[in-house]
Amino acid sequence: MDLTTIGGQLLGTIPLGDIVLYLTPFNLFMFAGALAFTTLIAISRTETQVEAEFGTLKDKEVKVDLQEFKIRRFLAIVCGLATAGAMITGDLFNFTLFVTLIGIVNIGIVSAVRQVDVLNAAFQYGLIAMMASLPLFGGAAIILASTGTLSLLELVKIPYVTSMMTFGSLLLLMGIIGETGVAPFYATKAEMFRTPGSPFILIIHLSSLLVIVRAIEVLLIINKPF
């Protein structure tokens, strides 16, 4: 399966030494989407949760203080930029590094929340992210060893698929699942929807969704099932 079947016309490349980013309409669309959402997050303020109190007529406001707001906005912007980078990178190892950056920044966003339940979930998520870095980099290393290259533009030209390449991409998929905490682990992240300060929380979901879409493209390029 070549690049144009998945992503549409190859519009150009950005050469940075051995790391060559390539631009297709598919990648550019996700890149622009990630950047637009990051801009929206950068200019927005946190939400305030209003809780009705039982027994009185007062309402309780759950606010995010300024320090917490600042660090979460900063980490959310970094997460958005890393997501945008992961969308257009054309190098497997570069992609895994972007995913790791997303993972560590996500843990940071969650760990800045001042609620015990959220922190418990964040701790478990951190455990998964630590475990996931082994299959993530291990998968990239196995693909490098079995193909001799890391560039996706070269990987797409390799006519054969060995079982070791499939095993490497399986490990890579496990790593991406763990780092971004996608679908099977949404149970962990459901805790975060209820916290005040939601626009920054949403970048975690957006990044994991976009990264898994891009990861599917990368795995199709490596494994060529069609």
Partner: protein, 162 residues
């Protein structure tokens, strides 16, 4: 078993890392029965094992030849047209490195080998973007750790045990 019960048991965040670790362990164990097929046209060429050690080359196993700024060393790039000056500083050694090289045969495998130009060539010239990302990952980790340490996200002494 009812699927609702499975979903409910997965909703507990404590179970998720265990499930992940179990699946990962199964995949890693399956890796033992995968036939190893290595590509012998590797991007970064290496000399035959032990060949440099047997001629008592102090830079073994990392000697790639070349004279800094005069003769290029043997370093390959995926896209040679993107890194035209590749190999020019492969053989560069810092003054301290030259001193160590003259005293021992095991310079190449020691920690001192890092000032050599080879790492600069591969890490910072052909794959420079990776280095930027690696250091930004480290920086983010330090920012998060120091923020959490300074602000004590949550004091837990007074919290009731669940």
């Amino acid at each position: 078993m009812n699927i609702g019960r499975i979903w409910n048991s997965l909703a507990n965040p404590k179970r998720i890392p265990r499930l992940f670790a179990l699946i990962l362990a199964i995949i890693l164990l399956a890796g033992f029965i995968i036939p190893i097929s290595l590509n012998d046209h590797q991007l970064y060429p290496r000399p035959t094992p032990q060949s440099q050690i047997s001629v008592l080359n102090p830079l073994a196993p990392y000697d790639r030849g070349g004279i800094p700024l005069k003769e290029t060393g043997t370093v390959k790039a995926q896209y040679p047209k993107n890194s035209l000056e590749l190999g020019q500083i492969t053989a560069y050694l810092s003054p301290i490195a030259i001193g160590v090289k003259n005293t021992t045969y095991y310079y190449g495998t020691s920690i001192y080998s890092s000032p050599g130009g080879l790492i600069d060539e591969i890490l910072y010239y052909t794959r420079g973007f990776d280095t930027i990302l690696e250091s930004s990952i480290l920086m983010m980790a330090f920012i998060i750790a120091s923020w959490v340490a300074l602000h004590f996200t949550m004091r837990r002494e007074g919290e009731d045990e669940e």
